[in-house]
Amino acid sequence: MRCLLLAAWLAITSMATAAQQPLPKVPPTPRAAAPFDLTGHWVSVVTEDWRWRMVTPRKGDYSSVPLSAEGRRIADTWDPARSAEDGCKPYGAAAIMRVPGRLRITWDNDTTLRIDTDAGQQTRLLHFDKRQSPAGRTWQGYSAAEWDLVTARGGLGVSLATAPPRMGALRVITTNLRAGFLRKNGVPYSEEAVVTEYFDRLSAYGTDWLTVFTIVEDPRYLSQQFITSTHFKREPDAAKWMPTPCERGSVTDGAQ
C-alpha cells in the first residue's frame, strides 16, 4: 500500500511538474524569434570546388553536377567566346551562394531578411510573412523563410512535448526563378528549379561561420537533387566589400 502511494505521488508530481512548465511565449516577430544572429558581413572561403568556382571551368566540365541528358545537352551548347553575354545567369538564387564573394545580411523589416552580395550585386529577400505572394520570375525568385523547429515525434504525446521545441536552422524555399547557370560554364538550371536552403551559424577556433546547405531540384535539367553546402567567415565590417555588377549597366533585376 505504501508502495502504491509512493508511486502515485511520483506520477502525479511528474505530471504536475510537466503541466506547470510555462508554455513558450510566441515571439512577436520572426526577427525577435531568431535563435541566432545571421546579420553582418560574411566572406566565402573557397576550400571546396575551387576549380569550378574561382575560375570559369572549361566547356563540358560539369563534374559533380547530376545533370540529366537534357541538362548535359544544354551545357554542351555553352559558348565560352560569348560568355560576356551570360550576364547575371551565374548569379541566380540556385548558384549565388557558391559564387566567391561577400554577403551583407540585414533585417529589411521584422519579417524580411535581406542578403546583398557584392559579386553580381544581387539582393535576396527572405520572406517570413507568408501572406505575400510571388509575382513574376527573377534571378533571385521568391524566397519563403521560416525558423526550422526540431520537435519530438511520437512518444507518449503531450506529456513528452511540454518543453518548447528546439530551434534549428533558417529554412528557405525559393521558387519563381529565371533560368540560370549553376556554374559559370553554362551548367544550367531551368525555371522549374526549386531551391531549399538551411542557413546556420557556428563558431570554431575563435571564428564565427555561416553555413548554407543547398538543395536544388530541377526536373528538367537535373537527374537528382543537387546538394551542396557553402561556408562563410564573419568579417568585422564592409571594408573589403567589392561590388561588381553581373551585367554592364544593370545592377540587379531585384528580388521579390
Binding site: A7, A11, T47, V55
Partner: protein, 605 residues
C-alpha cells in the same frame, strides 16, 4: 498483488515522465548516411597529384605534398592504413552513426562513427576528458562530443600523421579537429575544421553532405593486418622510402596542363581561398604574400596538450600505463620505462637525476617492491643521471652472489660502449660520476634479461647511431619496445659524428625497430614503442619518423653530390616542411646543428 502491479505501472509512468527532458536533449543521428558527391568529386575518388587547390597550405604543407610519392602507399608498413579521421568522412563510401548505450543506465554513452573506408571512431558523450599528451595517437584520434543547439559538436585530438586528401596533402600529428554534425530532416551536414599548426596557414574548413540511407551499409574492408600484407613493389629493397627530390617531379606541370588552373592556385595557400584571389586572377596580378608560405607560429592547442613535452608542467612526473606490465614516467629529463611484477621494479633509463625524489615517488605509486634493474639505453646524462640515486634505492637479487640475499643497490646494465664512454676522462674527471656508471656492460649485439616473468632483449642495433653504445630494450611479453634516443617524437635525430654517431646508423636502427614491432590490424597498436623523448607510439609512428629521416638524408646527400657547400645546403633548407614539427632555432639541438651533423656525416669518404 493488484496493488503491486499498479504500483509498478505507476512507477514506470513516473519514471518515463521525469526522464523525458533528458531524452529530448538529443537529435538522433543514428543510421546509415550516404554521401552526396556534388562537391569536389574528383578530389574524392582518385585525384590528381599536385592538385592542392582550395587548401590553406603554408609552404611546408605544399612542400610535403610535393615530395610525396604515391608508391609509399604500397609499402608493407602502409598497406593496411585506413582512412585517417581528417579524411574518413570525405571518402566515397556510406558512413554509419551508431548509438552506444550504457547497459546499466540506458543513457547514451557514445556514438560510434564508421567513416568511409575508415575504422569506427568512438565519440564519447559522457563528459570524459581527453587523454594525456603522452598517450598514443590513432588513425581515428580521440573524440568527445556535446550538443550545442541543434548540432553535435565533436572535438578530436591524438590523430596520427595523416592527410587532407588522397594526393599527399598532409596533416601532422599536432593537428586537432572540430566537427559540427547538424541534421536537417533526412539530410546531414558535417562541417569539419582541421587546425594544423605545422602544415596549414589557418584552420581548414570543409563541409560534407549526406542523406539518410535506408538501403545501404557503411563500407568497410575485411581485416587488414600483417597476414594480409603482400609485396606490391616487387624488387624494391626492404625499408626503401619512395619520395621525390625537389627537382625530380613534374606533377605540377601535368596538373596545370590538364586543368588549366594557374600554378599559384595549384599550390594552395590561404590567400587563394578568398574572393580577392579570383579578382587578381582576372586582372593578372598574382603576387603572393610570403607570410602565407612560412610555417606559422604555434597556436595554443586548447582541447588537450597534444604536444607532449611542451605542455607538461615543469618539475612534474607523469605516469602512463603503456601495455602489459610496462609504464612510462615522463618529465624527468628523458622518458623512463618501468616494468613491475613480483620480482621487483625494472627501469629502462633513469632520467637526468634532477627529480630523483619525484621519480621514486612515482615508482612507488606503481609498486612497493625494490628496484632490481636499471637498463641504460645509452651514455647520455639525461638518460642515466638518476642511476646512482635510483640504484641505491633498490637492491640486487641473487645474481652471481653466493647466496640469494639482496645485494646493495640495483644492477645497472648497458652496452659495454657505454662504460667506455662514461669512463673517458673529461679534463681531470671522468665524463660521468663513478656512481652513475653501469655496474655491468654487455659486449656484442644483444643481451638477454628475465624479469618479472618476462623475457627482455637488449639489442645493440649498429655500432654507430645516436651514439656508439645504443641499446633497444624489447619486453617480449608486454610487447613494448623502449628505444632510447634512436627514436624521439620531439626533434630531429640527435647524433654526434665525433663521438661515434651516424645518420645512417640512426636510419638502420629505426628500421631495426620496425622489424621488431608488429602492429595489430589496420597498422595500429600491437607492439607499443616508448621513445627517448615524447609521446608513446607504435610502429606507424616510427615508420613516419623513419621516412622523414630517410628523406632528409637523401636530400642532403643529393645536394652534397651536386657539389654544394655546407652553407649552400643550409640555404637550400632541405628540412623546411619538417621544421614546424621537429625543428628548433634554439636549444640543445637546433635544425642547423642537425643539418651540419648530417652534412659532415654524409660527406665522409
Amino acid at each position: 498483488m493488484r496493488f503491486r502491479s499498479a504500483s509498478i505501472l505507476l512507477l514506470i509512468v513516473g519514471f518515463v515522465l521525469t526522464s523525458a527532458t533528458s531524452a529530448r536533449a538529443q537529435i538522433d543521428l543514428a543510421g546509415e548516411w550516404a554521401g552526396t558527391f556534388h562537391e569536389d568529386l574528383p578530389h574524392r575518388g582518385g585525384m590528381r597529384l599536385a592538385d592542392y587547390t582550395g587548401l590553406p597550405f603554408n609552404e611546408a604543407g605544399w612542400r610535403k605534398g610535393h615530395s610525396w610519392d604515391e608508391a609509399a602507399r604500397s609499402l608493407p608498413e602502409r598497406q593496411c592504413i585506413p582512412h585517417v579521421a581528417t579524411y574518413a568522412l570525405r571518402g566515397p563510401a556510406t558512413i554509419r552513426f551508431q548509438k552506444v548505450i550504457d547497459p546499466v543506465t540506458g543513457q547514451l554513452q557514445a556514438y560510434s562513427l564508421h567513416g568511409s573506408y575508415g575504422r569506427p571512431r568512438t565519440i564519447w558523450m559522457d563528459g570524459r576528458p581527453h587523454p594525456s599528451a603522452l598517450a598514443p595517437h590513432t588513425w581515428g584520434g580521440f573524440s568527445t562530443g556535446a550538443w550545442e543547439r541543434n548540432t553535435l559538436v565533436v572535438s578530436t585530438t591524438h590523430i596520427k600523421t595523416g592527410w587532407l586528401q588522397r594526393n599527399g596533402a598532409p596533416t601532422s600529428d599536432l593537428a586537432t579537429m572540430r566537427e559540427h554534425f547538424t541534421r536537417y530532416g533526412d539530410y546531414l551536414l558535417v562541417v569539419t575544421f582541421i587546425n594544423d599548426p605545422v602544415f596549414l596557414a589557418e584552420p581548414f574548413i570543409r563541409t560534407t553532405n549526406f542523406v539518410l540511407s535506408l538501403s545501404s551499409n557503411a563500407n568497410a574492408w575485411g581485416n587488414c593486418g600483417p597476414a594480409q600484407i603482400v609485396d606490391e613493389l616487387g624488387g624494391r629493397p626492404k625499408h626503401s622510402v619512395p619520395h621525390y627530390l625537389p627537382d625530380q617531379t613534374d606533377h605540377i606541370r601535368e596538373f596545370l596542363t590538364y586543368s588549366g588552373v594557374p600554378a599559384e592556385a595549384a599550390r594552395g595557400g590561404m590567400d587563394t581561398t578568398y574572393p580577392e584571389f579570383a579578382s587578381r586572377l582576372q586582372r593578372g596580378t598574382l603576387e603572393f604574400d610570403p607570410r602565407n608560405r612560412a610555417p606559422r607560429e604555434r597556436i595554443p592547442i586548447i582541447e588537450s596538450g597534444v604536444d607532449a613535452d611542451r605542455n607538461r608542467p615543469v618539475d612534474e612526473i607523469e605516469v602512463l600505463p603503456v601495455q602489459g606490465n610496462v609504464y612510462v614516467l615522463a618529465g624527468a629529463g628523458a622518458n623512463i620505462a618501468v616494468q613491475i611484477g613480483e620480482d621487483g621494479v625494472l627501469l629502462v633509463d633513469s632520467g637526468s637525476g634532477m627529480l630523483n625524489d619525484k621519480v621514486i615517488a612515482a615508482i612507488r605509486q606503481l609498486s612497493d617492491k625494490p628496484i632490481r634493474f636499471i637498463l641504460n639505453t645509452h651514455a647520455h646524462a639525461d638518460h642515466m643521471g638518476g642511476n646512482e640515486v635510483l640504484a641505491k634505492a633498490g637492491s640486487t637479487r641473487g645474481g652471481g652472489r653466493p647466496s640469494d640475499s639482496p645485494g646493495p643497490g640495483a644492477l645497472v646494465l648497458a652496452h659495454e660502449a657505454v662504460l667506455f664512454a662514461v669512463g673517458k676522462p673529461a679534463g681531470r674527471q671522468p665524463a660521468m660520476p663513478v656512481g652513475a656508471w653501469p655496474t655491468e656492460g654487455y659486449p656484442g649485439e644483444s643481451k638477454e634479461v628475465f624479469s618479472n616473468g618476462e623475457a627482455l632483449q637488449l639489442i645493440h642495433p649498429v655500432s654507430a647511431a645516436h651514439t656508439d653504445g645504443d641499446s633497444i630494450v624489447f619486453f617480449r611479453r608486454s610487447d613494448v619496445v623502449v628505444t632510447g634516443d634512436l627514436f624521439v617524437t620531439t626533434s630531429y635525430p640527435v647524433f654526434d659524428v665525433d663521438k661515434g654517431g651516424s645518420l645512417n646508423g640512426v636510419i638502420a636502427s629505426l628500421n631495426r625497430i620496425i622489424d621488431i614491432t608488429i602492429p595489430k590490424d589496420w597498422q595500429e597498436g600491437g607492439t607499443m614503442v616508448i621513445p627517448g623523448h615524447g609521446r608513446v607510439a607504435d610502429e606507424a609512428d616510427v615508420v613516419e619518423y623513419r621516412d622523414m629521416v630517410t628523406i632528409l638524408r637523401d636530400r642532403i646527400q643529393y645536394l652534397i653530390k651536386k657539389g654544394m657547400t655546407l652553407e649552400q645546403v643550409k640555404a637550400a633548407r632541405p628540412t623546411f616542411e619538417y621544421d614546424g614539427r621537429y625543428g628548433a632555432a634554439t636549444g640543445p639541438w637546433t635544425t642547423d646543428m642537425f643539418v651540419e651533423a648530417a652534412y659532415k656525416d654524409l660527406s665522409r669518404k
